[in-house]
Amino acid sequence: MHEVRTELTASVWKIVVPVGASVRQGDEIAILESMKMEIPIEAPVSGVVTEFLVEEGAAVQEGDLLARISAD
């Protein structure tokens, strides 16, 4: 199971794929907003998104867990 964490303090602007979606490494799975910029969160591995631990609009701190991906 791969953990997807944020490297910055931001708010969750959009969750791009639903739980259960198959993603390839580098696919955008969510978009954060920080300093008026839309920061894409990319899948670190190819696999299935099993869980999002945040909702749209939530505030996240550096190091927070955003999602889990079960690697192929």
Partner: protein
Amino acid sequence: MAFTWESALEELRRRHEEARRLGGAERVERQHAQGRQTIRERIGQIADDFTEVGEFATFPIRDAAGTEVGTLPSSYVCGLGTVDGRQVAIGGEDFTVRAGAPQTYLDRWKGGMGGFVEDLAHEYRIPLILFMEGIGGDVSAQDEKGHSYLVSSMSWRRSFELMSQVPVLVAVLGSAAGGTAGRAVVSHFSVISKGSVLFAGGPPVVRRALGQTVDKHELGGAEMHTSVSGAMDNLAEDEADAIDQLRRVLSYLPQNVWELPARGDRSDPVDRSCDELLKIIPENRRRPYKMREVMRTIVDQDSLFEIGPGWGRAVITAFARIDGIPVGVIGNNPMHLAGALDGAAAEKQIRFVDLCSTFHLPIVYLVDVPGFMVGPEAERRGVVRMGMRAIQSIIEAEVPVVTVHVRKAYGMAVSATSNPDALGLRIAWPSVEWGDMPIEGGVEAGFRREIERADDPEVFRRQAEERLLALADPWKTVEAFGMEMMIDPRQTRKVVADFLNAGLHAMRSRVGPSDRRWSMRP
């Protein structure tokens, strides 16, 4: 016994064997079991050739009654080596002998902190490569001297002097505490392998002083120092990776400040069109992009090597080559704090700019900066002072600075991206936007009273914003020669290379120690 060549050479051979045993089979085995190499193995891995100095320095081992029961080699190995065909001074503590403690028992000091290996680098003006693994002070030294002593009796002058003379490249492999940790940071480039630690004082010292129990990796681990403190520049996967990184960094630097860095391979065509740039930079201005990809596109193929990727992440600093010329590339990172310059990023940039200036690497700055970082945390960490230091260091840099404007350029932080007192060459792409302040917040702040007094504050604000936005058209600045050039991004490599090639003439005429006069940083 009469002298015979046979017995004399036999004695030499015997002592040579002895030196190779280091602290003994058991300690060497322990070193290997922990995944670490001995100092001789490390030197063997980086140097094609090594001529050792002080090989036969030893110290006596005594029993509790003080009777000599044997000898051990000194805890430092050093000499003259060849790395990728270049002569360098190399040295390192031998952790298998007294955990690499300094050698107060010798007539002459061998190691870093002012020892022979530093004299070798200084006198011959050759780079210094240090492998650091040691516990710093050792109470048994007091036993040998017969009295306690002050560390301040030892001079650090030579170590600091080398910083303005020859490249000093350091790898921390294992534990570095106290003086060893201190020596490690007095360097132009430092790399620390995963699992290694560096601290002023280890967990037992922390427990005694503060009553805190801390894990040594949490306290001063490689990951922490390369992502939080910035005390070490780069993290290495293992010892082999650390040694590769030392070799790589050396390739961009000259032997000393009296020489220019060697020009590399020029096989990547200088007029190569950088078409990918139009894909990398999104048309949507709210979308960031990977500045490292922008850098990679412009510089010679496979020539980019990042320094300090894990800390001060709002700015990216890297060595590279353009048309074979070694350069320092700096870029704001829109993925982190939108590229706003905070205290840590400023500190990282200052260190890199000083390094480029010392060893005559021109600077290419890729700008996308919304300003100094704002907010309570940034202010508490001294963003204003650090930001001003960053501006001072780039104005003082004694190398050409070619500035490429990619997107945003707002506020004071822009002054840390070019040098208006020298040529001040700034090249813009049509994707730019700039100004004293972003219009939105700027109207709020600049017209606060007018907005409050207006019959319809909202209408006033909108009209003011529209008027100022029209003036913010970057072409108007270019027409006023407030920006030196506007180019098609795809031609960037060629344009930058042209100016770097022209700059070599000035660089050759100015080669030598730094002439910087501003001895005080704000």
